[in-house]
């Protein structure tokens, strides 16, 4: 077992021992898919709305959010480890800084897959129906893993810099702003004013399109390519953000 998998195993074991730290992050997207697809059932009557099932529209957004929470969850855990001093023990080990970072990433991916599967099952039970080929479901998983990766780097980077609950507040605020200033609620075409401009340029809109490939007609290979490039770019930037934050602990 490498240092990274050892750290990931610890993180996953702690889910079972401290479920209260993980379950809320899992319930939130489940609640969203249930409430949004019910409350906004009428949105499908809107001219040009790309599906006749509201749950098909909201399920990918909830999955993406659940996966993001899985990533940010590692940031919350990191704050606890920094505050208790446990992270000093890890920093004193002769492992590379990259291995220390990779551990939480592995844990976040495993957590994200739990969220992706659970929220998808709830969505399917509520009437979501996949469209097109199996590539669409791949897109949903890819977007989930991508958002978990981005969320992990962002969460860890903030945790290393603030070392306290201020980081948690910023993580949540930026996640909600980032995801809701996309076409999460309604298609870009029906938005107006600055919201439309922001949603069009918000890179997370492209990630949502990847997640929706299996549930909305009209999204295809080009959306997959652009969304994947966006996720890779953001994952790289947030990895560097986390790595420099880890290095700053020595100062």
């Amino acid at each position: 077992m490498s240092a990274s998998t050892g750290l990931a195993t610890r993180s996953l074991r702690n889910i079972r021992r401290l479920p209260s730290a993980f379950i809320p992050a899992l319930l939130m997207p489940v609640f969203q898919v249930v409430s949004f697809s019910g409350t906004y059932a009428g949105v499908t009557q809107m001219p040009g709305f790309p599906t006749d099932r509201s749950v098909n529209w909201y399920l990918p957004m909830a999955v993406t959010m659940g996966a993001s929470f899985a990533g940010l969850g590692t940031g919350f855990s990191m704050i606890r480890d920094l505050q208790t001093g446990f992270y000093d023990r890890l920093r004193m080990a002769p492992t590379t800084r990259r291995q220390l970072l990779l551990g939480p990433y592995l844990a976040a991916w495993a957590r994200a897959l739990i969220a992706v599967v659970l929220v998808t099952l709830v969505g399917l039970a509520l009437g979501a129906r996949p469209v097109g080929s199996g590539l669409g479901m791949f897109g949903l998983v890819l977007a989930g893993v991508g958002m978990a990766t981005i969320g992990t780097g962002w969460g860890l980077g903030l945790a290393y810099r603030f070392k306290d609950m201020r980081a948690a507040a910023i993580m949540q605020l930026t996640l909600f702003l980032g995801l809701f200033l996309t076409d999460a609620q309604t298609p870009i075409e029906v938005m107006q004013g600055w919201l439309q401009t922001v949603a069009r340029w918000n890179p997370l809109t492209r990630v949502l399109h990847v997640a929706r490939m299996g549930f909305i007609d009209g999204l295809g290979g080009r959306d997959l390519l652009i969304g994947t490039l966006v996720m890779a770019g953001l994952a790289g930037i947030t990895w560097m953000f986390a790595l420099s934050g880890l290095s700053s602990l020595d100062d």
Binding site: S2, A3, G6, R10, N14, G85, F86, R89, P94
Partner: protein, 321 residues
């Protein structure tokens, strides 16, 4: 004087660490020089906030020095940090241990982090738990351990990769006397096996009992260092402590000044280093009696590390923290 071996496991030269800037600049460590020889137990003695833990955090690669240099196990603490980490074991002040994990799980994780072969991990973890008397609690979550058990587990964690240099940052702070004695025995055993130990403490007795040499640090600077018996003999004269009625304090001070230099003491007590030794006690009592000063309490103390500390810093360590 510290040994002048260039192969010393711990060498620090003019180590400085500051925090903040401008008017808020704090020099937590202000030019520390030290050299710890192989196989030594080195005591780093000082009150809270003196700079002990900051020095240890630099030597264990957790904190970059502002200036100066240091090597541990022959490796530079900045440019060869990974090699330093491979060579040292560290038990930090707060025994930071994940309370959700069991003792066995923590030791196995530590074994993984130090690259110990998978086949050896369980065996080594079991051996260490037995060594520190925690075999029965191996599969209990650490959150249920007492303070003493956590300290012993912390020590076991520091030993998983059989380090040649061990840093113990206030290992017995907050422990009951029995747990403290048990930990002292373990530290002696480790040292007898050849491990070099740097121990920070604010307990004089701990330094006196365990350390081959001590350095006294105050306000970020080492103010004395040497063997405990040498340092105590440098202080020289035994200290006579007396308590008199408050109105007679000034007169008593004048009398005591005839027999030696005043020594810092706890409030309400007068202290003098007897220039001509313990034989002067009766003369002091007679002199006080001649002035009608009634002695309420009298105590003669051989020089202690606290006297060394007091002489070096102008204040006492005992009872300061």
């Amino acid at each position: 004087m510290p040994p002048q071996s260039s192969n010393a496991p711990i060498v620090a030269r003019n180590l400085v660490r500051t925090f903040g800037s401008g008017e808020r600049l704090i020099r937590a460590v202000d030019g520390v020089d030290l050299e710890v020889a192989a196989g030594e137990v080195f005591g780093f003695l000082g009150p809270n906030g003196a700079g002990k833990s900051t020095t240890v955090r630099m030597l264990t690669t957790l904190l970059r020095p502002t200036s100066g240099s240091a090597t541990v196990a022959g490796f530079d603490i900045v440019s060869e940090a990974d090699s330093v980490r491979r060579s040292i074991g560290v038990a930090l002040q707060d025994a930071a241990i994940d309370p959700l994990m069991t003792g066995m799980e923590l030791l196995k994780l530590q074994a993984v982090l130090y690259g110990i072969a998978r086949g050896e991990q369980h065996q080594r973890a079991g051996d260490l738990l037995e060594r520190v008397g925690l075999s029965a609690a191996a599969d209990r979550r650490v959150g249920t351990y007492s303070g003493g058990m956590r300290r012993r587990l912390d020590l076991a964690l520091a030993l998983i990769h059989e380090p040649t240099v061990l840093f113990l940052d206030e290992p017995t702070t907050g422990l009951d006397p029995m747990s403290r004695l048990a930990l002292w025995d373990e530290i002696r055993r480790l040292n007898n096996d050849g491990t070099t130990v740097l121990l920070t403490t604010q307990y004089l007795e701990e330094a006196d009992q365990l350390a081959d040499r001590v350095a006294i640090i105050d306000n970020g600077r080492i103010v004395r260092d040497g063997r405990p018996d040498e340092l105590k003999s440098e202080v020289g004269a035994p200290t006579l402590l007396i308590t008199v009625a408050e109105h007679a304090t000034s007169a008593a001070e004048t009398v005591l000044a005839q027999f030696g230099e005043s020594r810092p003491t706890a409030e309400g007590t007068l202290g003098v280093g007897l220039r001509d030794g313990a034989g002067e006690v009766s003369a002091v009592v007679r002199a006080l009696d001649a002035l009608g000063i009634n002695v309420e309490h009298l105590e003669l103390r051989a020089p202690s590390l606290d006297d060394v500390f007091a002489e070096a810093t102008g204040h006492r360590l005992e009872g300061a923290s």
